[in-house]
Symmetry: C2
Subunit: 353 residues, 2 copies
């Protein structure tokens, strides 16, 4: 566990749960799965809970419709990663006294639109008054097989895919938290539930990009004890508007992978010998996965940058939000300094502890 624990967030979780007993019905261990997997007679149940709180208090989500949309999406995305079909979601809403009725309607419309999009349902909930707007969703899904897709299982030479282009989450975060002038409004991510069936047949591991690409790859590396090497044509995997946006702001595009506000795509691996079958079936299902790279033996995240293949210091990148005490300007400054280092001293090798 020491490698997971190099990441402050993992350490916090491990401390929190250290005295909790595990259920004998639960198939996954902590960190191993985007959703919790429970054995129930001949069915597997997938359950997951996620709150939206910091995003609101930081000003990242200031549109009530988006808050409603996201509380469904973030939870459905966890179900998508494990290959589950949603049964529905329970939502607890803590609503400030001064929250306007019009805003509340927008919030509920975001929830309702997202549920309709995912063909799922609000099963129940709870409402409370509070000082701050906080939403907590708990999604429940079923898996009609004897195993789910977990974060563990990839092998060297497996191909790494993303379900879609990446970077819109971080472009949106830059626009809301840092840039005063330049807005990026194209943020309405879609949980990739449509991948469940194909991934269930072919994927050797899967995790969503709720915390951005680098965090996802780093966590998969720590759990699988293998690394990842990304392809040179990485621009194919960047959201086109996010890419333009970063160029306009003079921010290196790879920072769109490093930030921790994700776009809720799925990162998954496919064994090389079933790649063709997977792609055929994916296209038949109107899915357009993008090849990102491959699994490697070395426990490193290698990204082609500035004509070099750089082994990224992903521990540094992942711990930076906490180390900079959520000061986004300081956080960006540190990332830009790190970019300067790899640009000018690429032979410096950073290894993840």
């Amino acid at each position: 566990m020491y490698k997971l624990n190099s990441i402050l967030e993992n350490r916090t979780i491990n401390q929190l749960i250290s005295d909790f007993k595990r259920s004998p019905n639960q198939l996954n261990k902590p960190h191993e799965s985007d959703a919790e997997i429970l054995k129930l007679n001949n069915t597997l149940l997938a359950v997951t809970t996620d709150s939206i709180s910091e995003e609101i208090s930081q000003g990242l989500y200031d549109d009530p419709y988006l808050v409603g949309w996201m509380i469904v999406t973030v939870n459905m995305s966890d179900l998508a990663a494990v290959g589950a079909t949603p049964l529905g979601i329970l939502i607890s809403e803590i609503i400030p006294k001064h929250f306007k009725e019009e805003k509340n309607k927008e919030l509920q419309k975001g929830i309702s639109d997202a549920c309709n999009t995912y063909n799922t349902f609000v099963l129940g909930g709870d409402t409370n008054e509070g000082d701050c707007l906080v939403l907590t969703g708990t999604a429940i899904g079923i898996i009609n097989q004897d195993k789910s897709i977990s974060r563990i299982g990839c092998k060297p030479n497996d191909i790494v895919y993303t379900s879609g282009r990446l970077g819109s989450g971080n472009a949106y975060a830059i626009s809301k938290l840092i840039s005063q002038t330049n807005s990026f409004s194209n943020y309405k991510p879609l949980a990739q539930l449509k991948y469940a069936n194909v991934n269930m047949q072919y994927a050797s591991c899967c995790m969503d990009t709720s915390d951005g690409l680098i965090t996802t790859l780093d966590q998969l590396m720590r759990l699988n004890n293998y690394g990842f090497e990304l392809d040179e044509n990485l621009e194919n995997a960047i959201d086109i508007r996010a890419f333009e946006y970063s160029k306009n702001l003079n921010i290196p595009p790879w920072l769109l992978f490093a930030g921790q506000h994700g776009e809720f795509e799925l990162i998954f691996t496919i064994p090389n010998n079933t790649k063709d079958l997977f792609l055929k079936e994916a296209f038949q299902n109107s899915l357009n996965p993008i090849e990102l790279g491959k699994v490697i033996h070395q426990k490193e995240i290698k990204i082609p940058l500035y004509d070099e293949l750089i082994s990224m210091n992903t521990t540094f990148i992942r711990n930076l939000p906490i180390e900079t005490n959520s000061d986004v300007n300081h956080y960006l400054k540190m990332l830009l300094e790190y970019d300067y280092q790899i640009k000018n001293e690429p032979c410096l090798k950073f290894t993840s502890p």
Copy 2:
């Protein structure tokens, strides 16, 4: 629905969910059940979500251990009411930056102790930083029968029981929110999961007293279109220390039933012709239900007070927290005025709209 909607809280919920579609797998309608009931192959799944937020911001729960204990208990209590056996609970914790590590440990210990008490497990969760401490639990249980116990189904002459003595929740609330001098520290409610099997066989309806006895009876009245008449020996159903506490403060003991901070007992009804069988089986299972009264045709809540059988204005009582804008002193003053009315003008008939 107009009768449910006389209660402001019901109206708020109905407005909130008005655009949400219902799941075809969900067996209960809104308000009809303490937990949501989902059909899943040959099993019924019971799911429920509850947050603790107002209780913390109001100062009602200032002990982190109690907060941890309660987030498990309030959700387990909903499972108990529908007759489910818990599979576990997911807990989202929003923890303020300044929250001390020692307090956090107490919080987790409360969660862990409660789970051990109920022989259940934390299945997963989410942690966020926030301005206020907020906990949200989502409990999942199974019912190995083709129907659950709902809030609907009682008939006139059914006997009303409580699983245990009532009033400690409101005595505790008075002590924390109103009395400056006189403390009431015996508040650590227990979800009545042990009633699941017996109630599943005998109970015609059930609801927990999370919001106090009068709220529970009033909601059951609105859902069943029958009323309740309580017995004269009502003192048998009051928590002894809560009773002493109210006498010391010169607060009429029936206010321990009227306040909306409950004690998480179960209120349930048993058809008169199976009463003896029920009681026999209950005692065999070391359960000690207390008879409260009976179901009546008239849609009234009749309580023996001041040598009269008073038809209580439960609409007034239930809406009072919102009408008094959560001002607890004003709330108590209004309740005491109402008490004065029924004591001195008992022939005034209050009917619930």
